[in-house]
């Protein structure tokens, strides 16, 4: 199964996890994170958003992050699905799922991958508000989140 999918279509969390752990009876833990479109950002109501990416680089960047996660943590497999294109409030944006023998490493690797993705994967969100469409600003807090893992980011 592919480790990384960039797609406009929605994803099914249960099906993704079932596929990720199907091949390995040694899996004892699955940690997953799903990011969704919020109805407010920076004090404005948000009705929908458009997600742009850099085809080719996005996949390569996330593949490299998964390689790093496999080196750093005692995990069995990882899967990242990220949607692009138009998305409405409440829709799923991103899935990170990780399997391991025990929960600790799966929790950590899942958070590591998400922190990494936030500042190093080339995606850009443009949200629609009552004041018009605007590009979302990067957050310094996301750089700080990655720094906790010993990786210096200077995205924001």
């Amino acid at each position: 199964m592919a480790r990384v999918s960039i797609q406009t279509a929605d994803f099914d969390l249960s099906a993704e996890i079932a596929a990720l752990r199907a091949a390995d009876p040694g899996v004892g833990a699955v940690a997953s994170f799903v990011g969704t479109v919020r109805d407010r950002n920076e004090g404005s109501a948000v009705s929908d958003m458009e997600l742009e990416h850099y085809p080719g680089m996005t996949e390569r960047a996330i593949e490299a992050m998964i390689d790093q996660a496999l080196q750093r943590f005692d995990i069995k497999a990882a899967r990242v699905v990220h949607r692009v294109g138009p998305l409405r409030v409440g829709e799923q944006i991103v899935l990170v799922a990780v399997t391991s023998a025990h929960r600790g490493q799966a929790f950590q690797a899942c958070e590591f991958l998400m922190d990494y993705l936030k500042t190093q994967a080339p995606f850009w969100k443009k949200e629609t508000t009552p004041e018009g469409a605007r590009w979302v600003d990067a957050r310094v807090a996301d750089d700080a989140a990655l720094a906790r893992w010993g990786i210096q980011a200077s995205n924001a």
């Binding site: 990011g35 997600l51 742009e52 990416h53 850099y54 080719g56 680089m57 390569r60 960047a61 990220h82 944006i93 991103v94 998400m114 993705l117 936030k118 500042t119 190093q120 994967a121 080339p122 995606f123 850009w124 969100k125 443009k126 590009w135 979302v136 600003d137 990067a138 995205n155 924001a156």
Partner: protein, 83 residues
């Protein structure tokens, strides 16, 4: 030598999706940015050094010290906001 320059997000809206730029051999990513800035207009505005602009060389995050080769793919874009 020629390099392909790609823009994303707000930079794409201002400058278009891609262009080919002719540069002296041995140019760095910083040299390329200088050449684009020297054109003035929108290029000078959105690529200004005070602006938050990130860059990639051959589809990997990079910085302005990177040396370019003929046929390289360079991208300029705002800080990323996925997830």
């Amino acid at each position: 030598m020629k390099v392909q320059v790609r823009y994303f997000a707000a930079l794409r809206e201002s400058l278009g999706a891609a262009e080919t730029v002719e540069l002296p051999a041995g140019s760095t990513l910083g040299t390329l940015r200088d050449a684009l800035l020297a054109r003035g207009g929108r290029h000078a505005e959105v690529l200004a050094r005070g602006r938050a602009v990130r860059c990639a060389l051959d589809q990997a995050m990079s910085d302005e010290t990177a040396t370019l080769r003929d046929g390289a793919e360079v991208a300029f874009f705002p800080p990323v906001t996925g997830g």
